[in-house]
């Protein structure tokens, strides 16, 4: 099965003083990035298998959820590229978001993921609806996203997400919480769209 050895080896190499401070030649920096990326990709599979194992109780209750095959995280989430979250929920699909807390205390944090639908309802694992908010992904940001997904992944994104969906997650220490995103029904409260105020320089 997948291992974390290649990531450990890449991390060991980048503890060289040139890698820490950025005093290596550019082609060496590129090699460091490549090694880390290869290690990360393999370690990601270990995490997916671990989540499948951790969530075994949940998958027994909901056998249609198969984390092992389908789970994926998003290393380019910072530039709003996350194909796993850009699922069209209007055709009856649900998006399952597993949030793992690697620290030893309970945390409440805001999750932000790119989405393509406007009418989304977020539920926690008990089915309780969670308040959420949509924020527009601005054109300037999408330009950055498109350029870098091509440059770093060699992938030209086919889906253009419209919004960041923000919701509050509560996660136990060294544990996980599960959130379900689905298409909102008529009586569901949909995410609040952000009010916008523009401060014109001339005003």
């Amino acid at each position: 099965g997948p291992k974390t050895d290649s990531l450990a080896e890449a991390l060991a190499i980048v503890q060289h003083h040139d890698a820490v401070t950025g005093t290596e030649k550019q082609h060496v920096a590129n090699d460091y990035a490549k090694r880390l990326s290869i290690g990360y990709t393999e370690a990601e599979k270990v995490v997916a298998e671990s989540l499948a194992s951790l969530t075994v109780g949940e998958t027994k209750r909901s056998p249609q959820i198969k984390f092992q095959q389908a789970s994926s995280d998003c290393p380019l989430l910072n530039i709003s590229y996350c194909p796993a979250s850009e699922v069209d929920l209007s055709n009856g699909k649900n998006l399952v978001v597993v949030v793992y807390n690697p620290l030893g205390w309970k945390r409440e944090d805001i999750i932000r993921i790119p989405v393509i639908n406007e009418k989304i309802v977020v539920r926690d694992s008990s089915g309780k609806k969670i308040q959420s908010q949509l924020l527009p992904i601005l054109d300037a940001f999408l330009g950055l996203r498109n350029y870098h997904t091509v440059a770093y992944l060699g992938v030209s994104p086919t889906v253009k997400p419209k919004y960041w969906l923000a919701f509050s997650a509560t996660v136990p220490p060294l544990g996980f919480s599960t959130y379900y995103l689905s298409n909102a029904k008529k009586d569901d409260a949909i995410p609040d769209k952000s009010d916008t105020a523009y401060a014109s320089w001339k005003k």
């Binding site: 820490v20 950025g22 005093t23 030649k25 550019q26 995490v47 997916a48 909901s62 249609q64 959820i65 984390f67 995280d73 998003c74 989430l77 910072n78 530039i79 996350c82 796993a84 979250s85 699922v87 009856g92 699909k93 649900n94 998006l95 399952v96 597993v98 793992y100 690697p102 620290l103 205390w105 409440e108 944090d109 805001i110 993921i113 539920r123 089915g127 959420s132 908010q133 924020l135 601005l138 300037a140 940001f141 950055l144 350029y147 870098h148 091509v150 440059a151 509050s168 379900y180 609040d192 769209k193 952000s194 009010d195 916008t196 105020a197 523009y198 401060a199 014109s200 320089w201 005003k203």
Partner: protein, 286 residues
Amino acid sequence: SDTVTVGLKNLKLVYSMREGKLTQYINSRSKVKESLEQAFKYYAGYGNDGTETAQASGAYIFRPNDSPSPITPNRKSPLTVFRGPIVHEVHQQINSWIYQTTRLYKGKEHAEVEFIVGPIPIDDGVGKEIATEIKTNLASDKTFYTDSNGRDFIERVRDYREDWNLEVNQPVAGNYYPINLGIYLKDKSKEFSILVDRAVGGSSIKDGQLELMVHRRLVQDDSRGVGEPLNETVCIHDNCTGLTVLGKYYFRIDPVGEGARWRRSFGQEIYSPLLLAFTESEGHWG
């Protein structure tokens, strides 16, 4: 109104509409109220003029040519505010290559600033080192604190070394320190802290002010061994542009003596963020 206030509960930030910039920090719970100004600036890198004594700014050496140049915001771009029940955001396009979003989240008493900087233009042949600074009125008396490899904080005194008499030849570079976790300063009543999501350089060049160097692009080798200028690019096939960086820092002002808890616990949360995984399912959520 001349001002716009953002923030969901205890923490509020006030922006001047006329100038399009941050002016005040208010925490109604801790009763902290402080004037604040945030801006970008750049240090032009010292160029290697070919003489033996010249020392160019490069990968190893930060050597600014002169005092920093302010990067004035583009007056054609408005300041945009998004408000909702989870987060308030303020978007600012500073110029064609600097974009900034400031976020105040529900239930949090710090501000998150996300910066997108790059590609740094070097068409004029001048390398540039970009810093963001926040000015307050705290009387910090030349003293500030930076983390030691993400652990303890070490006291730094501007233009002073404990072990020898310092001759100040580099008033900026000589006071820069590596920032892995954060930097803070204090006076008799308040302390102002910044935490970072990555290793950067940082300093307090004036009392009450903190700055972080967020990006650098230089045109000369500094002759310390690397043998090439610090000029990273991103390429699609043969078309290359200078690197764009996207990063975050977080700031907060506390009554004096109350900032350490946040620096320690939130610092851990930056270092170990929540890990997300996604999958799809069919049918009813349950």
